[in-house]
């Protein structure tokens, strides 16, 4: 179920990128795409009724079923990178606004 | 070495014979053409008188190239005439009378005359030379296609052997009959070569002001007249050897020669004068098509009368 939601967000992100001509809206749809992607990564690691993969000292851990820890680790970095790029994109948007005075790409008149 | 000298002397003899023969026949023809134009025409030896009168006069020269060109022209034509076989057996250099030598040595004469004409500084002379060369471009190609057919059929390009083949009457009778279309094309090209009426622009008397001969006088003009006569001799005897089966002896040669030359003169006295591009267009329309079809029929389909 989670995967379908993730794929839906991916599609939404792509749709946004395809149609929007406003810089901020492009950044937003890029974020939606990345969040959808991260959700999808998480959903890959899901194990039926597995618990969070945290080893505690006092329980013997061999009997428990853990969810696959790797995708969640990957997602951490993916999110951080997503944040980095979005920050850079917003800084660029600021530059664009100063230079062209508008966010609509069509009105910028770049050749 | 001695027989080489003898051969050369014989060649000079042939050239001299050619000159005398042609000049006298030209004189006779001037009377015939005169008769056609309802007048008597000059004495038969008038041509000789003109030439020797000119040779004795003192004239003008425009520099060394002007003279050198005339010498080269006359020399080249005499050289060509030396090769010409008179009868199928009587010739100066047996075995070496190749058809292409004649076509290309005449070109040397033409080049000599052209060189001296444009060297004379008169633009009208250069225009005349340009006309002569253009007409040559026109009449030369159909003629050579027909000769190609003859050479391809007989397998030899030496005039004397061709003559013998035609006289033998075995498999080939005269090519003017064996290759009818070829004969017609040859006649038309011959009229072009000799500069007879329809294609006469480059040496026409009326166009003298813009002909190549405009700057000549005295001995230069005389020498060019000699050159013209010998060229006519070469071209007509080429026609005789290629198309009328050469000649067993001199008498037949002279009769055929006279017949061809007079026929041409009579034919040409009927026509007007074509402009140069009309000449080129004419020659690259009918004669070329006739020549190519004749060649195709004769070589590939083997229809030879």
């Amino acid at each position: 179920m989670l995967q379908y939601a993730a794929i839906a967000m991916l599609m939404l992100g792509l749709y946004g990128l395809l149609t929007q001509r406003n810089v901020i809206k492009i950044i937003v749809s890029l974020n939606i795409f990345e969040i959808g992607l991260n959700l999808f990564i998480i959903s890959v690691g899901y194990v039926d009724d597995g618990i969070a993969p945290i080893l505690t000292s006092n329980f013997n851990n061999n009997g428990l079923i853990f969810v696959d820890p790797l995708p969640s680790a990957l997602v951490l970095t993916a999110i951080v990178i997503g944040v980095g790029t979005t920050a850079l994109a917003l800084a660029l948007a600021n530059n664009i606004y100063q230079k062209y005075g508008t966010f609509e790409i069509d009105e910028m008149g770049e050749e | 070495m001695v027989d080489m000298l003898l051969m050369i002397l014989a060649g000079v003899g042939v050239a001299l014979f050619g000159f005398v023969l042609q000049t006298s026949i030209a004189g006779v023809n001037r009377k015939i053409v005169g008769r056609i134009q309802k007048r008597y025409g000059p004495k038969w030896y008038q041509e000789f008188l003109d030439i020797f009168k000119l040779l004795s006069k003192r004239s003008v020269t425009h520099g060394w190239i002007f003279d050198f060109g005339v010498i080269m022209a006359l020399g080249g034509i005499i050289g060509t005439a030396m090769f010409m076989p008179i009868t199928s057996s009587l010739m100066a250099f047996p075995g070496y009378d190749n058809f292409f030598i004649f076509v290309y040595l005449i070109a040397v004469g033409m080049l000599g005359m052209a060189m001296s004409a444009s060297g004379s500084g008169n633009p009208l002379a250069s225009i005349g030379v340009m006309r002569a060369l253009t007409t040559m471009l026109a009449y030369e190609v159909p003629f050579m296609i027909v000769v190609l057919t003859i050479i391809k059929l007989t397998g030899t390009s030496s005039l004397s052997e061709l003559g013998i083949l035609q006289q033998a009457g075995g498999d080939f009778n005269w090519f003017v009959i064996a290759l009818p279309l070829g004969g017609i094309v040859a006649v038309i090209s011959l009229m072009g070569m000799l500069g007879k009426k329809p294609f006469v622009t480059y040496i026409a008397p009326a166009e003298i002001a813009s002909g190549p001969m405009v700057e000549y006088g005295g001995k230069q003009l005389g020498m060019l007249f000699i050159m013209h006569e010998i060229t006519v001799f070469i071209e007509v005897s080429l026609f005789v050897h290629l198309f009328l089966g050469g000649a067993e002896n001199i008498l037949f040669f002279i009769i055929k020669y006279f017949a061809v030359y007079t026929a041409l003169n009579i034919m040409s006295s009927v026509y007007g004068r074509l402009k140069i591009d009309q000449v080129v267009l004419f020659f690259y329309k009918w004669p070329l098509i006739l020549a190519v079809t004749q060649a195709f029929i004769a070589i590939y389909l083997g229809w030879v009368i």
Partner: protein
Amino acid sequence: MTVELLIILTLVLGLVSYFMGRFNKVYGAVVTIIASMFVFISVGYMANDILDGSTFNYNAVKYLPVFATFTVSYLGIFFAILVTFVFAMVSFFNPFFVEKYKYPAVYNMLYIFSLAGVLGVFFTDNLMVLFFFFEFVVWSGLFIIPLGKSKKAAVSYYAFSTAGSFALLYAIFIMRDVAGTYNLYAGLASVSGTTQGTYVMILLSISAFSKLGAFPLHTWLPAAHGNAPHPFSPVLSGALVKLGAFVAILALVKLAPVGDLQSVFGSYTDATFLYASQYAVAILGAMTIVFGTLMAIRQDDAKKLLAYSSVSNGGYILVALSIGGSVGLAGGLYHIIAHALASAAAFLAIGAVSRVTGTSKMSELGGMIHKMPITYMVYLIAIISMAGIPPMGGFISKWLIFQAVIDNGLILIAVAVFFGSIGSFLYVFRPLAALFLGQELPQHKDKAKIPPFFMLLPMIILSLLIVYTGVFPNYILGFINDVMAELGVDALVIGKYTIQGPNGVLHPTLVASVFGVGVLIAFIIFIVLKKSRKVGLMDTYTAGNFIYTEELMHYSLDFYAPIERLYEKYINITEDFYKKLENKVVDFGRMVKYFFFTNKPEVTVFWIVVIIGFLLWGDL
């Protein structure tokens, strides 16, 4: 002196000439003379090594990578001697022209580099090395042409030559695939006759056509030769065009012809037994002759005119080689010699004239004979040979080609060949009349003077050689027979002085001596009679009106007006074709640029979605 050592030495000499050139222009040019003379002499030594049978081991010394092997074959020597001779003769002109160029040192270096490249092409028996040097010649020639007048000419030269060399490369790879080795002879032998053989033949002919400047691929030649620097155009048309002839020989002679017509037309072709491929190349050669002649007749620039004459003579070579047989091949090889010498001499003469007057356009020149008589005589002898008139070499090769054409009964090709030979008489005469003879124009009267001795020397040597090849051809024909024996074609029947064609015997010495006797007689007649009075050029029969200006009395513009009018509309068919082709590529480029490169990200996203969709189309 091994071939490899010779090539490396030439390259080193090239660099020496570059540095010498930086130091002083003229010394650099003198180095080019020394280099090309040195190369010519050493090739000469190699030649008489080969001729008297001693097999000198030419691969003893190994400098270049191991697979670069060289052998000295008769064919290689034949071409090498001719080309290095033309290079040597033309190099005498370099010192006098080198000041005018923007990069004189580079000119000297590239001049010698192209010489080295040519040596490499003719002497190698390894296909890849052949391509290496072939491309190297193209490359070094490329940077010399813009030193002349136009850059566009250099670009079109590069375009066509590279098309040719890439076709050659693809053919080499096919041969490598079939034969397994890069050996030239093994490659050709293994491929001839098979289906790959047809592809190889087509590709090699494209390469030969582009280098020879034959009909479909000739548009670069007039521009390149016409606009190249004056001393380089004789090298271009005399020597570098012969590379195309070399490849044509590989394509047409060494490979078995393709497409047996005998079985198709049956009895009709008893008159001729040519194969379809020979017919095709012959027809294209014929079209080259006609096209070259027609275009040459109407040119105003003497160098462009000579360039078109090279095109038409290239057509002659192609027709001769494609007909093959002992007479055809001998005619082709002899024509290569005659054309190389004649066009080199003609270009040198025009170069000498334009050095003094600054232009080679006939409408601006006239009466150069009065100040430069020797150059005039050189040009006269060259054009007599080019027009194929008896006492000169051109007549022998044209006679042989006519014999071959007639013997095979090729009517349409005969029409073109005859038209070409008479037409060549017209267009070679045009510069003679318009440039050398006629009125002496005042603006050139003071500047024009006899070219220095070192410029006359090569011209005179070339003219003597042209006369020699015309009067005593049998020694050279003997050498050609050796080349043909090596190519596997039976030799031409030649006596001590005579040449035996399929339907006639030619005795060139006799023809020349008879012509000499004729001229002697005419001279005697001329001398005996009264001496005529010398009169100036302006004192001519002008039907009464007074003339003062020389320009009006000089007929040079639109010399053959009647003919030119006939085909004026069809002149640049091929140029327009190639321009359209070029515009197609440019439009495609612009379309892609407009469609893909905008500053909006959705173009990329759109294409990503489309491609993923395309992949998943069937599966969902």
